[in-house]
Amino acid sequence: MIKRLAAVWHARNLEFVRDRRTMIFSLLMPIALVLGMSFVFGGKERPLFKVGVIATVIDKQANPFLHERYVEFVPIADQSTGIRKVTHQQIDLLLDLHGTPRYWVNTDSPKGYIVEKLLLGAANGAQRQQVTGEAVRYVDYLFPGILGMNMMFSCLFGVGYVVLRYRKSGFLKRLHATPLTAFEFLTAQVLSRLGLILFVTTVLYVGIGTVIHFHRAGSGLLIILIAVLGALSMVAMGLTVAARFSSEEVVGGILNLLTWPMMLLSGVWYSLEGSPEWVQWVAGIFPLTHVLAAARAVMIDGAGVAEISSHLIYLAATALVFLALGAWSFKWRYD
């Protein structure tokens, strides 16, 4: 079994490496995106102050400060989330109006300094709580999203169309006439694509990280583990889509149906906090959502294994389910 698997894995790697156009596109697309985003969002800060208020719904009458102009007030579900956001300067100040007003401000943040003056002018007597922390730029937030999105496209389209091409050309039918099993074939494809994705992602991670000096608080090994499980889950998903169909239109349609919602709802571009509950529920189905949530938790907040274990378990489980489903429904022939 290992010998057969290795033969197919090796041949697929040769095919990918020699297909220079695909290889170059796989590397250039995300580099261009990250550099573009870094250029657009990296330097300039938006001129709006953002203040978090610990509340489900903000009652404007609760404090005169809430009437200040040029300040956006956003509800924050709990204190720890708010403090984390102040630490990373994702908000300029956190306000708790329950009982005696309290506020948290980041002493490293210039905007925090100004918005604190505004607060004290409008609501003198609020108790000051101090935090410190380096700002998390939008590009720091975006970077894992871009890597994840590139991984998603590579996993789904890279594998889905390859299997479809093999089926249409009759290559799968020829393999079927050998002792190779569907599970061996699919596993070889998964491993081959996994290796390539990890290579490309590592190159991007190191290369772009050198250029934009992104924020990384947590363990590099944990990020690799997230990448491995995420890629396995999404490659297996791509194989499941391609396992049965022979039409490019059908496979292309299904892949688009998966990638577009994932791209929009998995939190690639922005956080889903504050979006309707059903949107968050749908987003929770997508493997990419778990990849990004786990990666950002590690990279931005320095989370450990325990804190992201639910994401890791979900990714591992979906990888196994998709692979089993793909092997079960796999069709060698083109009808």
Partner: protein, 305 residues
């Protein structure tokens, strides 16, 4: 149409046996109760026109297509992993993995079998030495078929399936391919060959089965079948030389494309009749009956119809 009994009884167990094979597609019965036995070490030909059911039959025998009913047995047992390890297959149409050289393509398939020939030996056997580093997409039709044959031989198969292996090849490439298959025959391999080239079948096959509408309508060695069905010789005349008035002569006349064929057991008498009827004989050709004549005799069709 008459049913013909199975191949003559043999002492040894057949390497492959097909029993009452049926394959239904929506609105079409591609194989209709077909049975045959392939003795070990022979080249067995499945002949028939397009749509006769021979590719469906061979694909069921190869184990890559499921039959509606009936069974295929390899060395007395149902097709299993052992069969996959010991069978070599050349499909009518197939593609290989892109961006691989000839050698890498062979190496890939060699890796899928537990036993087999050395890659260098297969390359030598199929005369691919000068092409081994060429991208498999840049081969001519004949070279491509030699590579596919090499892949079919990489596991040193006991039984080799060749589905219309020379269709689309130019005459020279076809002859080269026949020489290759003859060298494989010399290694005592069992070969199952489908073709609609009668010359190919006569040259390579020890035994043939003619298939039409999913059934075998004749089976045996080419020589025996011709002896059974023909005592006659065939006279061929261009149709333009054959006047309409001559169609009423007491002869067995068959129209084939642009020529008229007359089948006769009494050549002298037939020639006298034609001379008396003033039929021009300047382009007359006399030849023994061949497999194509046999097919016409049995089905009334041209093989390549």
């Amino acid at each position: 149409m008459r049913e013909v009994p199975l191949a003559s009884a043999r002492v040894s167990e057949p390497i492959l046996e097909v029993r009452n094979l049926v394959k239904h597609y929506p609105n079409v019965t591609a194989v209709d109760g077909l049975s045959l036995a392939v003795p070990e070490g022979v080249c067995f030909g499945l002949l028939g026109p397009n749509g006769a059911g021979k590719t469906t039959t061979i694909e069921i025998m190869e184990g890559i297509l499921d039959a509606t009913s009936g069974e295929v047995r390899y060395r007395g047992a149902p097709l299993d992993q052992r069969f996959r390890e010991e069978a070599g297959i050349l499909f009518q149409k197939t593609a290989l993995q892109d961006f691989l050289t000839v050698r890498q393509s062979i190496t890939l398939f060699r890796g899928l079998y537990t036993r087999g020939l050395d890659v260098d030996e297969v390359i030598r056997l199929c005369a691919l030495e000068k092409l081994e580093n060429r991208d498999n997409r840049k081969l001519s039709g004949g070279q491509q078929q030699r590579l596919l044959l090499a892949i079919a031989l990489v596991n040193d198969p006991s039984v080799l399936f060749l589905d219309e292996p020379t269709t689309g090849l130019d005459p020279q490439a076809r002859r080269n391919f026949w020489e290759l298959i003859q060298s494989i025959k010399a290694r005592k391999k069992s070969i199952i060959l489908t073709t609609h080239y009668m010359e190919e079948a006569e040259l390579l096959c020890d035994e043939i089965a003619i298939v039409d509408r999913g059934r075998i309508i004749a089976q045996g060695t080419p020589r025996r079948l011709l002896q059974e069905h023909f005592e006659e010789v065939m006279l061929e005349l261009p149709r333009k030389d054959f006047p309409d008035s001559a169609r009423n002569l007491p002869l067995r006349i068959i129209d084939v494309a642009e020529r008229v064929e007359i089948s006769t057991a009494d050549l002298d008498a037939t020639l006298r009749i034609l001379i008396d009827a003033h039929v021009p004989l300047a382009h007359l050709r006399i030849r023994p009956a061949n497999l194509e004549d046999l097919f016409l005799e049995l089905t009334g069709k041209e093989l390549r119809a």
